[in-house]
Amino acid sequence: MSRGAQIGLVAAFLLAVLVAVPWAIEASGRWDLYYTLTSVALLSIASAGVWLTFYIGRINIGQGAYALMGGYVSAILVVDYGISFWLTLPAAGLACAAVSVLIGLPILRLRGVYFAMVTLVLTEVARLAALALPVTNGAKGISNIPLPGGISLFGLTLIPDFATLANVKPAFYYLAVILMILCFAGMYRLVHSRLGQLCRSLQQNEELASSIGVNIAYLRVLAYAVSSFLGGLGGAIFIAISRSVYPSSFAVQDSINFMLNCFLGGLGYVFGPMLGTLVLYFGWDMLFLAGQWQLLIYSSVLILLMVWLPNGLFSIRLPRRGGGQP
């Protein structure tokens, strides 16, 4: 793709999500779509983190743990300490990143299914810890979290106080979408940088990379920390929207969904998680009409998609060769 076409695509995407979608929603009066799309944007941020761990060759089914932790950090700071929501966002991300470094140092030595299973267990640990720790208020969770306040600089209102807005949904939509754009722009930059090349060398062969002089221990912890940062960020905003957090807010199911989003979009494509999240979340929502058949249809489609396109939705563009052989 030429540079001009790329810029055109990006501009069209930005125009679509920032102008066209809100306009269409206002025009059609389907306000509930704001919530759906906001969720998609947030979940795709967390999924992008999972995708990055896939990029270094690790199957990460533990993103739910960091999303939950990010949510709790933000909720506790806002409710118990009265800190502005906007400050708790980076705090939640950084806290998750710090914890992930501690956890990652030992467990990133694991590979393949071992790593996958440990991270799956990690989600369960996070849920049980949230139940047991005193600061998280146990099974009752934390509810009635106040809406994000405003930010003003020199008397100029940069972000209005969410509580004063007549309709808070578009505000959260813009917040989530802008963060999503920043996140994926960052991911794109990361993957196409020297660091991204090094990460890909880990995916292919860690011993070889190490023998050439790549600091694999540092790189994989770094990638895992970035991944957890994104998980915490997504979780924190999600909690701010639902205004309550419980130990079951992010469970094993969510961790698996984050992973499925990446698979469905395609592991070889930076924007795979975004597309995967959109398709999975919307598909699930639309199938609500099918009532009791919802899960059956959803899972059948998932299986069929996997049988036809095992390399993700984005792989449709790849030229087909005989017999579907890679």
Partner: protein
């Protein structure tokens, strides 16, 4: 204390049987079967229908569970996993498929059997009471014994039958087995069916004690993953060891830690992560699986 050990052994026998199926599938196909817990639930419901609803003897129900699951497993391998493994660039893609199958089985079970907790009449009455030191109902003892017998039968089968030898060869080195004339496709299917069969047998056994409901598939899968990790993925002795160790930990943990509330699992999980940090391949696993 005797009671705790007896409980641990009883739990361990069932857990080991669950973990065996999972580890077998993993060893043969390098597939992490997310749907294992759902297969277990399906086995439980088949037994519930045959034994609880139709009133046929329990043995028939157990065989029905085993056969149903073996057929389901074989079909899943033949038509889904084989296709995806052949077409996919990365072998992790099978995990999405496995998760999809788990959802699918969940949906089927929910539609066919509803969401209620189902139980069946006891297969045996009476309680063993050894001087109030060990108190254990007879049906639990029977189920535990059957589970151990199934494990022993499985080991003998793997050790001495032709199929077992082919499966072990496949697990050791797929390419080498193929070069030696093992029909890889056929034995992959048999292995997957065997793994699913084991899940069905445990489901059929346990429905007589704990009953079954459609929501327990996921938690069972997670427990099975833990056992496999403790013992080492893809190793049969490891799965058995992992099952008994987890059963023991649970039994001891519940009796020692119950004063501190519901933290047994938190402690088990946390110690598992520390253990894996020291010994990533589990007790008996090959490094890097």
């Amino acid at each position: 204390m005797e009671q705790v050990i007896a409980n641990g052994l009883y739990l361990g026998a069932q857990y080991a049987l669950i973990a065996l199926g999972l580890t077998l599938i993993f060893a043969l196909m390098n597939v992490l079967n997310f749907a294992h817990g759902q297969m277990y639930v399906l086995g439980g419901f088949v037994s519930y229908t045959v034994y609880g609803q139709l009133g046929l003897p329990f043995v028939v129900a157990l065989v029905a569970s085993a056969v149903t699951l073996a057929v389901v497993g074989a079909l899943i391998e033949r038509f889904l996993f084989r296709t995806v493994i052949r077409r996919s660039h990365r072998e992790e893609s099978t995990m999405l498929l496995a998760a999809g199958i788990a959802f699918f089985l969940d949906a089927v079970i929910l539609l066919m059997f509803g969401e209620k907790q189902r139980g069946v009449p006891k297969i045996m009455d009476g309680v063993l009471n050894w001087d109030f030191r060990i108190i254990m109902p007879y049906d639990r003892i029977l189920v535990g014994t059957l589970a151990i017998a199934a494990i022993a039968g499985f080991i003998l089968y793997m050790q001495y039958s032709k199929t077992g030898r082919a499966l072990r060869a496949l697990a050791q080195d797929r390419v080498a087995a193929q070069l030696m004339g093992v029909d890889v496709d056929r034995y992959s299917m048999i292995g997957f069916a065997l793994g699913a069969l084991l899940a069905g047998v445990v489901g059929g056994l346990l429905v007589t004690i704990t009953g079954v409901n459609s929501g327990i598939g996921g938690p069972i899968s997670i427990k099975a993953f833990m056992m496999v990790m403790i013992g080492g993925a893809g190793v049969i002795s490891g799965a058995i060891a992992g099952g008994f160790i987890l059963g023991m930990l649970e039994s001891v943990g519940l009796s020692v830690l119950h004063a501190y509330g519901d933290i047994t699992y938190l402690v088990i999980f946390a110690s598992l992560m520390v253990f894996l940090a020291i010994r990533p391949q589990g007790l008996m696993g090959k490094p890097w699986g």
